[in-house]
Symmetry: C2
Subunit: 188 residues, 2 copies
Amino acid sequence: MTDARQASPRRAEILAAAADLFARRGFHGTSIGDLGGALGLTGPALYRHFRGKEAVLAEMLVDISERLRDEGVRRAAASDASAALDALLDWHISFALDNPALITVHERELDNVPEPQRHQVRRVQRAYVEEWVAVLRRLRPDEPEPRIRAAVHACFGLLNSTPYSATGLSRPAMAELLHAMGRAALCC
Amino acid sequence: MTDARQASPRRAEILAAAADLFARRGFHGTSIGDLGGALGLTGPALYRHFRGKEAVLAEMLVDISERLRDEGVRRAAASDASAALDALLDWHISFALDNPALITVHERELDNVPEPQRHQVRRVQRAYVEEWVAVLRRLRPDEPEPRIRAAVHACFGLLNSTPYSATGLSRPAMAELLHAMGRAALCC
DNA sequence: GAAGCTTGTTAACGACCGTTAACATCTGAC
DNA sequence: GTCAGATGTTAACGGTCGTTAACAAGCTTC
């Protein structure tokens, strides 16, 4: 019962609290007691909802990577490659600005995900990257593919820097800035 | 004797091994035993050279931030603002490509540095950012400063993405790509 | 060659961690 | 009203961690 994918309000609360704690203190820096305490519970209560600490992280990363890819596939389908790139940028930026903790955990904690979920997350991440690469190949057909792939990774680094820069910019201003920078970086 | 800043070959070895381990597994994911073992020693041997685990991290981050800033100050002094920006980009990129582990630790583990070194690192980091901001203000005087500062942080995210993208690009090709992307992103 | 400093070792400490067991309470179904 | 399931608690487990203590071996100096 604590095993499979079963949406319950408690599970969602735990995942939200875990995202915040894992982002702020890291997976190894967060104890089960901390995690329960953030919800007004004791540590062992979490075992009613998850098989263990690693299972919380695993479900979190699987969910993030699939959300990014699923919507990425949709956005990349635009017939105009330039519009598709804009749509991908908008999607990734809005996700990063809405979920800074998730972006941080997704970026840092993959190595702590147990198999087989780690392999699954890697596969889904790769599929998401390939959506970007495919759009850019349409946009700049003369560019060698390894260079495009490296550029996409670097662009993610740019867009994902959001959580760390506690800047004085409003959210729309930040979104616009990241879009312009990402676009310029990819099309340089 | 184990206290102050005293360069010894052993200390440098420990710092190098710690950079690698902290980057790969995180500060909390690395034990003193792991760290000693990486050098063919036992854990407690490290206490002959450092006051404790946190002291290793603290010295590492203070050193990184000061190296970045010191050379940053030099590069930013070029009379031509555009040349200064190129020089800053070249510096940061070469540092990141030469020291991927240091860049990773510097980016992720500041919260685990004890006071007062954490405050010191923050101050030096801020000074490094200000070198970039000052150059960009000369280059684009009409741009509001908060936007410039946010752009610099985003650019660091781009340049620091190096360690995660184990790409098929050669080092010169990667350096050239990052330079072009960073320059385009900042001047968009 | 004795003394002392440096740099290691092993053994042991107290604390904390992830997890499990045993038990309590509440809720809904019949 | 009772039973069963879901969801919480406290207590206890084995393991690991950072750190310290006690001791040993090698080098340098006089």
